[in-house]
Every structure is written in structure tokens, then in C-alpha cells.
Symmetry: D2
Subunit: 89 residues, 4 copies
Amino acid sequence: MQNEETLKRLKIVAGHMGGVIRMVEEGAYCIDIIRQIQAVQAALNKVSAGILEDHLNSCVTTAIRGENPAERERVMREITDVFVTATKV
Amino acid sequence: MQNEETLKRLKIVAGHMGGVIRMVEEGAYCIDIIRQIQAVQAALNKVSAGILEDHLNSCVTTAIRGENPAERERVMREITDVFVTATKV
Amino acid sequence: MQNEETLKRLKIVAGHMGGVIRMVEEGAYCIDIIRQIQAVQAALNKVSAGILEDHLNSCVTTAIRGENPAERERVMREITDVFVTATKV
Amino acid sequence: MQNEETLKRLKIVAGHMGGVIRMVEEGAYCIDIIRQIQAVQAALNKVSAGILEDHLNSCVTTAIRGENPAERERVMREITDVFVTATKV
């Protein structure tokens, strides 16, 4: 996913968030609001996955091919951390 | 959580989303962007939980005490559905 | 979901877990093991949703129709708590 | 996480699953059962994260340093896929 694609998608999500705010302002049904929040979260998951894919193909590849073991350790630790948080969000 | 509290929190999340968009525009480090997206999602989980709590104390209570079995079925089915989606987001 | 159905499903999941243990013992490919663990978790989500549905139709309904406000508070708080944890598991 | 550590943890989770089955057989309170299922899922998340960490340090590192672009593509695609599923479990 290119940077521009990421931006485009995030702006769509931001627009969706604005819609959720309007729903609350207009007194929409609770369950409908929760469903829209869940849709926003699902869209954010897709954006994160796209960013992770780019990251693996760029920074991670560079670090793993590089000569700096501490840097390699760091990038791999970050991926595990992001995965751990993903299972908790 | 009152409606006003929900709105206030959602507006904070929307501001946070704006921050994520700026990070992407400024070419921030991928992992930092993913972490901020995960923070947005965690904040949305809290908002959803607050809305659900209100819903249980109002609509669900009314329906369960009411005389309409179809309505009772509906509100309880909705809660299960929202729970199922929650475990998939 | 009846109790018997819950038991049956949990026993299938336990069998699946035994399969994951054998995969590790036999040195299966990491990603295949992770995928099977995720399948176990998805199956557990379905079991939880079924138990929640039963709970709403029994204990929660009884409590909400009952005359004990503290009991009503408790059952509704529990549902919100379980939802909050669900979004973190 | 070594293979032996993974096995040990999975066996503890399997024992925990046996406990959940007994709870259902003995007619435990629904919410307590759901909480134990959620604890099993959280434990499985930790096992998956440990396996992923090993995988990054072994197979992924080998593939990224290797001369086979298709193999590199494959391992990185797998990590993104596992991340996507993680956000849905």
C-alpha cells in the first residue's frame, strides 16, 4: 500500500468518524452507533495491515539484510509488539 | 456514560485520527503510525463499552420488562451480535 | 445454545488444541501453528457468544424483571465487563 | 521462545481448557465460564506471539537474506495475513 493510498483510506475513516459523531448528536439508536464504531475499527485494521506490509518490504528488509544486529533485533521486536497489541485491541 | 460524555470522547478520538493523518503526511515511522492507530481503536472500544452500558440500563431494561416477546428477542439478539463482532474487530 | 451443545463444542475445541500440541511436537511450520491457534480462538469466540445468549435469556432476564436493584446492576455490569474483555482478547 | 517452552505453555492451556469443560459440566455461572474462555484466549495470544518472534528470527531472516524473491514475498505476505487474522480473532 503506497503512502498516498494510506492517506486516502485514513481520510475516509476520518469522514466515517464524523458520521458517528453526527449519529450521537442526533440521538441514533445505541446499537447502530456501536456497529458504526466497529466498522471504523475494521477499516483501521485494514489500514494497519497495509502499513505493516509496506514496512516489512522496506525497513524490515533493510534491517535484516544490514550488518547491525541491534537494529535487526529492534525491528523484529517491534513487529512482535504490534502483533501482541493487535490481539488486544 | 451520558450522551454528552460519549460525544466528548468521540471528538477526542476524531482529533487523534487527525493526528494520525498528519503523521502519515509527514512520513512518520510505520510502527509509530500503527501504534497510534491501535490507540485510536482502544479508545473506540472504551466508547463502545460506555454506550453498551447505557443501552443495557435503558432500552434493554425496558424491553425485558415489557410485554413484547419479539422486542425482547430483538434486543438480546443485538447484544449477542455486537459481542460476536467485538471479538472479530 | 443448550448446555450440551456448549459441552460438545468445547470438547471439539479441546481436540483441536491436542492437534496444535502435536503440530509443535512434530516441528510443523510456525505460521501453520499460529493459524491453527487462531482457529481455536475463533471457535472459542463462538462458544462464548452462545453462552452469552443463553445467559441473556435466563439470568439477565430474571434479574431485570426482579425486584433487586443491586442484582440488576450486577448482571448488567458483568455484560459490559465481558464485552470490554472481548475487545481485548 | 524455544519449542519446548511453546509446548509447555500449550499443555498448560490444554489443562485450562479441561477446567472450562468441567465448569460447564458442573453448571458453573455463565459469566465465570466466559471469563475462563477469555483467559484461555489471552494465553493463546501469548503463545502465538512467542511463535511469531521465533519465526521472525529464523525463517523470515533466512528468507529475507536469501536470493529467492518469491520466497521473500511469501514469508512477508504470511506475516501480514497472520496480523490481519489476529485483529479479527
